[in-house]
């Protein structure tokens, strides 16, 4: 969260932006929630949605580019599965803040507790 840590992440930040943008759509989030249950074919995924198959396909491509969905093509059948790695990257990004504060409170504890023993 301080800028040197942000620099460490700069290589991954382009990818992180893709993830945020991919997740910034309710249809795509619903697709991911469905894939979190189990993998599915694109045609299966399209069923519950009141939008066309090409539209669903476009959403899946955005999710693929963000690394959130892996697609395997078997003849004419496209199988999709959820890939959790980018979500772990988001968690890691947020985790910096927790580490910063835990470290800071550790320093505070050492400062006041050691001080009182003098």
């Amino acid at each position: 969260m301080l800028s040197s840590e942000k620099q460490d992440l700069s290589e991954g930040e382009g990818q992180l932006d893709l993830v945020f943008r991919a997740l910034g759509d309710p249809t795509r989030r619903a697709l991911l929630a469905r894939l979190a249950e189990r993998p599915a074919m694109v045609t299966e995924l399209a069923q519950p949605f009141a939008i066309s198959l090409p539209a669903v396909s476009r959403h899946i491509r955005v999710l693929e580019r963000a690394g959130l969905v892996a697609r395997t093509v078997d003849g004419r059948v496209h199988h999709c599965s959820l890939s959790a790695t980018p979500l772990k990257d988001v968690e890691k990004w947020l985790h910096q803040y927790r580490r910063f504060w835990e470290g800071t409170l550790e320093s505070l504890a050492r400062y006041v507790e050691d001080d009182s023993e003098k």
Binding site: L2, S4, R21, G24, R29, L87, Y97, S107, V112, S116
Partner: protein, 141 residues
Amino acid sequence: MVTLVVRRTIRAKAERLFAAWTVPAQLKRWWGPQGVKCIDAEVDLRLGGHYRIANQLPDEKIVWVTGEFEVIEAPRKLVYTWRIEPETESSERVTVQFEESGNDTEVIVTHERIASEELRKMHEQGWFGCLEGLAKFVEGE
């Protein structure tokens, strides 16, 4: 908004901790996680008053954190805005509470509005509710 809560119980009275957190001479002696040194601190402890803390990172680079005080309830509570200089667009907000119990105090840090325009947009679009549903899957990998 993403809000983070971090707690730690410290063997000290609330007044002692409140002073450590708000007196520049003391801040310089402990502020920051391991590897980060506070080399300068300015604190104008009043509502709307500014603070600035200089963090020296392991690579010797200096990052200033700044903000204004929104709530001051000595020795139990402090609320202030938080941003990295040069100014980022939006401020985050930190609440520090000192809950005393005998000779111990639980220090509770609540860090709100965590960073970036992307996260703010994601919140507006209800992103974080979705993440909970996916958490189980992520933990399983």
